[in-house]
């Protein structure tokens, strides 16, 4: 069973050299900056692919969008991969309207995201930071 780290506030878990980061119910400045910090931390640790799971996210505001654009930029600069999973319909519309979906793949759920990433990388090893 992969481990689940809560970090300071943001929940995340490592799956081999991938990391799954769980967004909260409202992606605003406070929660967004926590997610961005966690993403950058995972990239610095050598993580090659990130999944941000929006399963609990009901709303993303403008600051949240800007922060996600920053995450996309950071991932692109390191040559890693990024997938957003479990995004609700309203948020998908927002991401499409603002162009985020041109830079990041969407997956219906976390399993699909992991499967997509596994096509480009070796099978995930046992969990561990």
């Amino acid at each position: 069973m992969p481990e689940l780290a809560t970090g300071s506030v943001v929940r995340s878990r490592a799956v081999g050299d991938l990391a799954v980061i769980y967004a909260g119910d409202y992606l605003n400045k406070l929660s967004g900056e926590r997610i961005e910090r966690e993403c950058r931390l995972q990239l610095e640790r050598g993580c090659r692919a990130l999944i941000i799971n929006f399963r609990e996210t009901e709303l993303v505001n403008s600051i949240g969008v800007s922060i996600l654009l920053g995450v996309i930029d950071a991932v692109q600069n390191t040559g890693a991969q990024l997938i957003f999973s479990d995004v609700n319909h309203q948020t998908v519309q927002l991401f499409e309207m603002l162009g985020l979906t041109r830079h990041v793949a969407l997956a219906a759920d976390e399993a699909e995201a992991l499967a997509t990433l596994s096509e480009f990388a070796p099978t995930p090893r046992a969990a561990g930071h």
Binding site: S62, L69, G70, D73, M97, L98, G99
Partner: protein, 424 residues
Amino acid sequence: MEQEAPLQKLLHSFAALADLGQEIAESSDFQEKMRTALHLVQGSLGLMRGALAEFDTEQRVLTFVAARGMGAENPEPLALSSEEVSDLIRLGTCCLTRDDENPAAALFVEHQETLLDASRVDMVVPLVVREKLVGLMLLGGKATGESFTAEDREVISAMARHIGVGMQEHKLFVELSRRAAENRQLYDEMRVIYHDTVRAFAAAIDCKDKYTQGHSERVGRYSEIIAREMGWSDDEVEGIAVAGYLHDVGKLVVERDIINAPYRIDAKQSSELNRHPAAGYEILAPINHPYADIPLSARYHHERIDGRGYPEGLKGDEIPLAAKIVSVADSFDAMTTDRPYKRRRDFESVIDDLRCNSGKQFAPEVVACFCRALLKEVTGQTRQAGIIRTLGRGYVEREKVAPLLQALIEDLESGTLSTTAGNA
């Protein structure tokens, strides 16, 4: 869904604009305010890069205060020519792009091409408030890859106006803080000059009386010690010290022969000398002192609690507290310094005098505070031995004095030595 998209976009932009207004109005941390503002601009339209710079009018330099997607750090400061500044002010808060047909905009973009290319900037927005350039916003392209629409430009311009106001407010705040600091420094310097002048004046007063040199300064020091023991604020303590320094200023109008008489003066001379409190008031009253009660302290420092003082024979609480303090300090110094016609008294008899005259000549609460301050010095409870040091080595015999002071304080606090006349 395609019909819903423009409405959703509009609502998203409105929400960002509302958040920006709130942020500009409420946030007190300027750096954080600018970072959030940039987030809101980028997030409202899905812009990959952006930066905000604050303009220093005197140096003609733009200093970046927030940046995202422009590299690891904020871009280097950007110097502008006076022509560029004028052009940007003329353009006002608007969206300038490389393909802009406005000649001034095209010229600016051409001049700053290196920066714009290096930071992949697609749009420059001057932040102009009341015909003054306060900053600049640089924006990268939309994440959709589409060009900016007229509606996008409207949204950006509206947000830029908010940000410009926020920057202008910050500049005003910084300027006000700078001026307040300057004023504070000027005030401190003037205060030093004021106190130096007061000390010089006190020295001039004392020079007239060759037997009481340093009297005014000592009365100022004792008054300060009493007021501090009474729990007065620093400003009030400074004020009472000044009152002590100047309490005898009226002696300047009294003939030197009377002041320096090496014998007990007669009734007529005494009457002349007793003019000095009122004369002191006349001298000090027209001056706008930074502290209260300085003229009144001079006028009433020879009043007595029992009403037998002068010039007006005030009783008890009719006498201002500051004058009561100066009165005790003045009499204490008179008893503990040599005079032309008598040597100073031994210290035990001075304490006895304070006891006997408490509630008659002196206000008991003032005597009690003076004794408490003195006892702290005698017993070493305080290192600030201001009274004992002033009195000189060997004058105060600590073993003898401490019990006397302690007993006097207890009697004063228990009410045994309360006032006898009119101290309401």
